[in-house]
Symmetry: C2
Subunit: 115 residues, 2 copies
């Protein structure tokens, strides 16, 4: 019950969306990302983390346009400052793990859930 | 109860993310987007639509980098084909409404929720 209430009140949460652009010839290992990388980062975030999601890019919403992103991992947190405090001392470990699943540089968006 | 169960099983849903890039001098009217545009599009989607979200871009996750997106609107649907069938006959109306809230062209990502 506490869980379902939490899921219904995402308004006001902060999202950190780590978006991996698609480019011809670039690779992304979703299995590694889901089983190793994302749990590792989530483990740094403590109870500031409400949940995290992983999505796989399928296509561009417009015909005949390239896929914008291969994958996106998103952390929903209560406070941005606590996210930053938790990630900063682990930044080297997080970045060192990138090469284990991809050869692209992610775009990172910080946003606020309005609805 | 049906609602909370639905929210807990997003795995497998299709997301259509309409992402509005930030650029110097460009504008985005979040109030219009939230009260007029998104409800209009959502109204076309019927019970294929599980939920939709709106987020406001705050910053780049990396220091000294520009904001990637000003806003993102996302539809979570059960079937991509039904989304396309619902939107196609209304595409002109949807596009004609863009000028009421923004002067940027969105990037549209179709993705699948893995987790």
């Amino acid at each position: 019950m506490a869980f379902s209430q939490e899921k219904q009140s995402e308004k006001g949460l902060i999202k950190i969306s780590v978006m991996y652009p698609y480019a011809e010839g670039k690779t992304f290992d979703l299995a590694y990302y889901e089983t190793k990388h994302m749990p590792m980062v989530a483990g740094y975030l403590g109870d500031n983390l409400v949940r995290y999601t992983i999505e796989k890019g399928l296509s561009n919403g417009l015909p005949n346009q390239p896929l914008p992103f291969m994958a996106i991992g998103t952390f929903y947190v209560k406070r941005l400052s606590d996210y930053q405090s938790a990630v900063t001392p682990n930044r080297d470990a997080i970045r060192a793990d990138f090469k284990n699943y991809t050869d692209v540089i992610p775009v990172i968006l910080v946003s606020e859930v309005l609805k």
